[in-house]
């Protein structure tokens, strides 16, 4: 019997509250659906497409699809996971992701998803795009090489910090993050290390300065526990009211 506020995710019943997306409901229930551009505090963006699931047989992003009673949602299937691996590989070859030299390694969601989905190599020809680093700000560094265009910083700065420090510009693979001031340098904006936008980057593109390798590689969150397991734990620790 189908409950009023329940849908099925890979055969498991998931309860949801009115207005929740499939992704929100699944995460709240401790069922992990891979995602990168999602953040519980922000409106969905729906651009990374890692959370693509099949809802009653039709593909759609779990973060932008409303949960409805009786939906049959397939997520953890070989086909969808293969697609997700391909999407991750696309993100890896599109930028310059050099994990051994990245302070975010072991805490990076892109990398953690690659582990979770057993992505062993980037597969496609690397673009090796020439991308700059912006070290103009006294406390925060932007390494554009690692930006995956998830727009989390854009949303955080606009919606929480009220600053609109960031925007995405350009078309196709020329798309890139821009900083909102005439010089285009972070140091010339009113951006602060305490901004929400400074902490939401899922990869190592926006990093605080002077905190390099405080936790040794190998002992970082995703070294200790896979992202999917952490997500399940987080749900049980803070059941959503």
């Amino acid at each position: 019997m189908s409950d009023d506020a329940t849908f099925m995710l890979d055969g498991r019943p998931i309860r949801f509250e009115a207005g929740q997306s499939i992704l929100q409901a699944a995460l709240a229930a401790g069922a992990f659906i891979p995602n990168l551009c999602h953040h519980p505090e922000f409106k969905p963006h729906g651009s990374c497409k890692l959370c693509t699931v099949k809802v009653n047989g039709r593909a759609s992003s779990a973060c932008t699809t409303r949960a409805r009673a009786g939906q049959e949602v397939a997520s953890d299937t070989p086909e969808l996971n293969r697609h997700r691996r391909t999407l991750l590989q696309m993100l890896f070859v599109e930028g310059n992701h050099f994990c051994p030299g990245c302070e975010k390694s072991g805490q990076c969601r892109l990398q953690a998803l690659a582990y979770d989905l057993e992505m062993l190599n980037p597969h496609y020809e690397h673009f090796y795009p020439p991308r700059p680093i912006d070290a103009s700000h006294p406390d925060v560094l932007i390494d554009f090489n690692r930006c995956i265009l998830c727009a989390l910083c854009v949303r955080a700065s606009r919606d929480v910090d009220g600053k609109t420090v960031f925007a995405l510009a350009g078309r196709g693979t020329a798309q890139h993050l821009v900083v909102d001031c005439p010089s285009g340098k972070l140091g010339d904006t009113d951006f602060a290390a305490t901004d929400k936008a400074a902490e939401v980057c899922p990869v190592g593109a926006i990093l605080p300065k002077r905190v390099g390798f405080a936790v040794p590689i190998g002992e970082r969150p995703f070294d200790i526990e896979p992202i999917s397991v952490q997500a399940a734990h987080a749900a049980h620790a803070e059941p959503r009211g």
């Binding site: 969905p44 963006h45 729906g46 651009s47 990374c48 497409k49 890692l50 693509t52 593909a59 992003s61 932008t64 409303r66 697609h83 391909t86 999407l87 696309m90 993100l91 070859v93 599109e94 496609y124 020809e125 673009f127 265009l149 609109t164 420090v165 960031f166 925007a167 995405l168 510009a169 350009g170 078309r171 196709g172 693979t173 020329a174 798309q175 821009v178 900083v179 909102d180 001031c181 005439p182």
Partner: protein, 607 residues
């Protein structure tokens, strides 16, 4: 302040005043800036941001999104070659090469004196009279080597484009088969009067009875869309005519706009009447800039006639007017939510749906977006009623459909048929020359082979936005797919991962195959990428971007295989070319400074 900066300030002040300092008109302002300075000067960005109270990032975002805006100067004469496969089949590359040689400038570059720049652009919608070019945004059709020479001379002598021979700019309608729409006379104002006589509810009822479906490709029922917008809450409602006809091979909207503009505008007024909108936009693709003065004149006429304005034909609460917005070279803006973003002055990235525009469209208010052809059909329903309209076509696809026919046929042009016409009939009527394949509905459509020519044009069989490109039996279908792959790489908006990166990787692989370095491995990759893009992309662009590749691999595999290397693997890049820079700086040219795999090839194949 330098004189240059002062000049910029003066121009910007004037433009801002003319556009009412409306941030929603940012793209329109930028187009004017581009026309004035042959680029958007970097200093203009913060100035515009300040004047319009927009973040600089948002202005940058718009500037960088549209192909017709440029951060670096283009030539005083900016020549863009339409590069659809149909232009290629008509020999545009020979003409481009010829002009490049004569003007001493390569494609993608600007001449040293800044006089002229040469480049390619996506299909400009002149497929039945190509090869086509745009000179400073204005279309020139039927290019020949002779005409190219004339253009070169005019450019060299700095003759203003307005003084060039009128024949260059002649755009034929090429209507080859007219039916209920194209063949009928139309008295401006008659359709709106007829609808008013019916009253809103009965007119909407007639619309319902007609079962008119959108002609932009998706085939959504127009009456349902209108009712949803009418019932949605909002202080204002908007009617938008989608005249961003960017699908390669499609040009029927251009003919309707040029030869039936009263129908288009009156269709918009009818939509406004039905949903209670006061304001309408015609979003005209940048490639059709040549139509703009005529359309503006037509709006003036319609206002004088009382079809537009306040209290239209005496109906007190029926006030409606139309504003023309120009696109700026972005195919994705044909997608209705991207179009709305563009109308608001932003980069044309498709929104998340739902909410749909009927409840939350332009400025978050209920908005109906209809295709040019759909709006023309609306006038017929107002005049003749839904039951009459339903008498044409098939059960699920009522009325007629206008097809843009191009490629290998004797009579390319516009063909209007009742829905349900067989493709073979169209091919016979246009004098198709030994067709090997037909690409239906443009680059994003499907590729049909002769065994499918018995199928019918209708939503229940072969749906189409109207393009029909014919490829004769001498054509190489790999070239067709390659052209489309480059098109999609150029047009992907970059919002979502699968389309942004997928179109680029597919284009790279197609180039590799074209260069003779593809293998079976690459063939498998193309199909897998299509599967991922089709499943996971945010909008129709990405979902269909790999379709032509998948179709041509399925139907014309030989065209690919004849190009494949006879090995199981080829490097991703040219190894020897990768040493060129080091050879240059060391001055070496010994055997060890070369990477030739021939000796190894033998060993690998005998392994």
């Amino acid at each position: 302040m330098t004189t240059r900066e002062a000049a910029l300030d003066t121009v910007l002040a004037d433009l801002l005043a003319r556009h009412g300092r409306d941030p929603g008109r940012l793209l329109q302002i930028l187009l004017d800036v581009q026309a004035r300075f042959t680029r958007v000067p970097p200093e203009a960005v913060p100035k515009l941001a300040a004047a319009l109270d927009l973040p600089i990032g948002e202005v940058e975002s718009t500037v960088e999104f549209y192909s017709f805006l440029s951060r670096t100067p283009v030539g005083d004469y900016r020549i863009l070659f339409s590069d659809n496969i149909t232009d290629r089949m008509l020999g545009n590359q020979t003409i481009l090469d010829h002009m490049a040689k004569r003007l001493g400038v390569r494609a993608g570059e600007v001449s040293e004196d800044g006089l002229v720049s040469l480049d390619t652009t996506s299909c400009t919608g002149m497929c039945d009279q190509g090869p086509a070019i745009l000179v400073n945004g204005i279309a020139i059709t039927r290019m020949t080597l002779r005409r190219a020479d004339q253009v070169c001379d005019l450019v060299r002598n700095r003759v203003p484009v307005a003084e060039w021979p009128a024949d260059f700019f002649r755009v034929e309608h090429n209507i080859r088969r007219a039916d209920m729409l194209l063949g009928a006379d139309f008295m401006p104002g008659s359709a709106v009067k007829a609808a008013i006589a019916l009253g809103r509810d009965r007119f909407l009822e007639e619309m319902r009875i007609s079962n008119l479906r959108g002609r932009g490709g998706a085939g959504f029922t127009t009456a349902v869309k209108w009712e949803a917008a009418r019932n949605a809450s909002g202080d204002e409602r908007y009617v938008v005519c989608n005249a961003d006809e960017g699908e390669p091979g499609t040009f029927k909207d251009r003919v309707l706009l040029q030869y039936y503009p009263e129908r288009v505008f009156e269709g918009m007024a009818l939509a406004a009447y039905a949903i209670g909108a006061r304001h309408g936009f015609l979003y005209l693709r940048g490639e059709y800039l040549y139509l703009r003065p005529m359309l503006e004149e037509k709006l003036v006429e319609l206002r004088a006639l009382g079809v537009l304005g306040r209290s239209i034909f005496g109906v007190g609460d029926f006030a409606f007017d139309i504003e023309i917005h120009m696109g700026a070279g972005a195919y994705v803006c044909g997608e209705e939510t991207a179009l709305i973003e563009s109308l608001e002055g932003k980069a044309g990235r498709p929104r998340i749906r739902p909410p749909f525009p009927v409840t939350s469209g332009y400025r978050g208010l209920p908005t109906v977006v209809n295709n040019v052809e759909t709006l023309c059909k609306v006038t017929e329903i107002a005049l003749h009623g839904g039951a009459w309209y339903r008498g044409y076509g098939t059960k699920q696809s009522t009325g007629t459909k206008i097809l843009s026919v191009s490629g290998d046929c004797a009579r390319p042009g516009i063909y209007e048929y009742p829905f349900g016409v067989r493709i073979s009939q169209v091919l016979e009527d246009c004098g198709a020359v030994r067709p090997r394949a037909v690409q239906i509905s443009g680059a994003s459509g499907q590729c049909l082979t002769p065994r499918e020519f018995g199928r019918r044009i209708a939503f229940e069989d072969v749906p189409t936005a109207g393009a029909l490109m014919i490829f004769g039996d001498h054509r190489d279908m790999f070239e067709v797919a390659l052209n489309f792959a480059h098109f999609f790489r150029h047009e992907s908006c970059g919002f979502c991962t699968p389309c942004r990166v997928g179109t680029t990787i597919q284009a790279k692989i197609m180039d590799k195959i074209a260069a003779g370095h593809g293998t079976q491995y690459e063939m498998n990759e193309l199909e897998h990428l299509h599967e991922v893009m089709r499943t996971a992309s945010h909008c129709g662009l990405g979902q269909t971007a790999g379709q032509a590749i998948a179709d041509t691999i399925a139907e014309f595999r030989g065209d690919y295989e004849k190009r494949l290397a006879r090995r199981d693997f080829e490097p991703a890049f040219d190894l020897d070319a990768a040493l060129a820079r080091a050879r240059e700086v060391t001055g070496r040219d010994d055997a060890d400074s070369r990477l030739v795999e021939e000796g190894w090839q033998l060993r690998e194949t005998t392994r």
